[in-house]
Amino acid sequence: MELDVGGRAAYAYTGGKAFDAALPCLVFIHGALNDHSVWTLYARWFAHHGHAVLALDLPGHGRSDGPPLASVEALADWLIALLDAAGVRRAALAGHSMGSLIALEAAGRAPDRIERLVMLGTAYPMKVSDALLQTSQREPLKAIDMVNAYSHASIAAKPSYPGPGTWLHGANRALMRRVQAQQKGLNLFHHDFGVCDRYAGGLEAAAHVRCPTTLVLGARDQMTSPKQTATIAAELNANAPTQVKTVDAGHVMLAEAPDAVLAALRRAVA
């Protein structure tokens, strides 16, 4: 469905069912150069199991109007405004990679409105190497290929996503290229990686989070290493129960381990 957030169109996939704000709401937030389609299986499952689902396209990504927003903080404000636009008072947030930082910041800014926080494929700080930032600026297509290769733990992940017969490396590469190409005159890849790299408010946000939190980490994640989560997990756990669940996958765990991730999400938002 399409929402109006601050005068700009924002798209949210609702999982194959009409959105009903009276149901418990679960919001999915994608990562850099992705869109809502990385969540569709999960969105469909929760929408058909008693939830109101919003799988978002962030500003300037997929079907949502641009321009892209320049910081995690701005994106968190946009997310809270989107909840208002959808008539949602309280929601659970599940974010992947860059989306996990947006979910964290939103949960810290509006602790009374966020019931559950799920951070998948996350790390804090989410620093990006200078070499990759420079490559993403100068040769974004080459950088996409590099990130795509690093993001996958396998060339044979099963049962594949969204269904058998999908070559995950090719699908993720094509999605990143599509999202990049849709932003004319702006290098969205460099922009998104800059958003992740610059975010410095994670610990402060974590100190304000009051809801149960789950970190879902890929055991073979080379983009956001599980080792880089200890500090943020401890900060979150100081204020509210925080669990860490590890799945056998790389950074693109949503595609590489859909059954394990669904199981983790079900426990996290139960």
Binding site: Y13, G16, D35, H36, S37, T40, L41, R44, W45, H48, G62, R63, D145, M146, N148, A149, Y150, H152, A153, S154, I155, A156, K158, P159, S160, Y161, P162, G163, P164, G165, T166, W167, H169, G170, A171, A174, L175, R177, R178, R220, Q222, G250, P258, D259, L262
Partner: protein, 446 residues
Amino acid sequence: MPGASDPGFDTLALHAGAAPDPATGARAVPIHLSTSFVFENSEHAASLFNMERSGHVYSRISNPTNAVLEERVAALEGGVGAIATASGQAALHLAITTLAGAGSHIVSSSALYGGSHNLLHYTLARFGIATTFVKPGDIAGWRAAIRPNTKLLFGETLGNPGLDVLDIPTVAAIGHDHGVPLLVDSTFTTPWLMKPFEHGADLVYHSATKFLSGHGTVIGGVLVDSGQFDWDAAHAKHGRFAELAAPYDGFHGMVFSEESTVGAFLLRARREGLRDFGACMSPHTAWLILQGIETLPLRMARHVENTRKVVEFLSRQPLVASIGYPELDSHPSHALAKTLLPRGCGSVFSFDLRGSREQGKAFIEALKIFSHLANVGDCRSLVIHPASTTHFRMDDAALAQAGITAGTIRLSIGLEEADDLIDDLKRALKVAEKAGDKASAKAGAR
């Protein structure tokens, strides 16, 4: 297999989509000869049917062995995924019917495999899908033939049997200017010789019966999506692709382009086309094709090496009037071949014999290593006379448009010793020459 780049072609040909079987440790891909797959419980069953989970339900829709083949071919082509089908023709039919229905229009190259020409010209016309044929090199013709209801441009990477090289970058750009995707039959080239997606094609299919399988044992097809064509944008601008960008009544109002930004085509092809038309591949066939693909790089290199030697030999024979191989300067697609096919132009080509139809017949019947049959891309060398076999339904005008004469002979060069193939051809040419002498003597006696 994480790293700074994806594995190379030869590695993907062996490993993409397959890992040791977690249940048994089997290193080779197991053949899952099972029609169906048990559900964990009722909720699991419902969620699989409703596309809330990924997994296998029934082998007409998907199968674990077929999935390995699909992922592997998609990896080799640089696509987002693939669907294995009962034959190459089934793959072409699936591609067309996923996008087109009664009232739709296709623009196709005229240089096609006879079976594809039949499907487009005769059979689909019965179902209200019209096709305009243009010569593959007639660039203005491609542009002029596009109509508001055109859903697809279609051609072969190497047109059958004259080996016209399709100018994929130019034809794809024309299509994209009009919001129409380009489908390419890549059977003759395989991804080892050319990856059409890198040149702008949007969809590719193979008759996997040929080089992918490579051993002349099974019939199968594979349809691959690049994920590059923006169905939503094209539909918004031209209104052509409601099949992918508007609600589908056959699956609870699903909009496939919302479900998968880059995999919408394959979702509909599988969820409608395989479900309803049912032209799926046997898992045993998929396994045999996988065996073939594992050695595809080695075989293609040898196919091309042998073909170059045979072409060089034939080019020196007085009885050979012409050879249609794009690596020769004389071929009209020579320049394009140098750009698009730097590794070679495959191992299927045609040549014209001087003399009578009887001499052509004598030539084919004298061959001992070459097998006279209707196939190409086998590890064994093959020969056929297109005008009387693969293209026999075409009238003279259509044959001429496809670059075929009564004297055209098509060879598919296999993996034998090149010297043995040349000896076989040398012997057959002598027999053909003598047949011509006898015919002249008879004519003189009268």
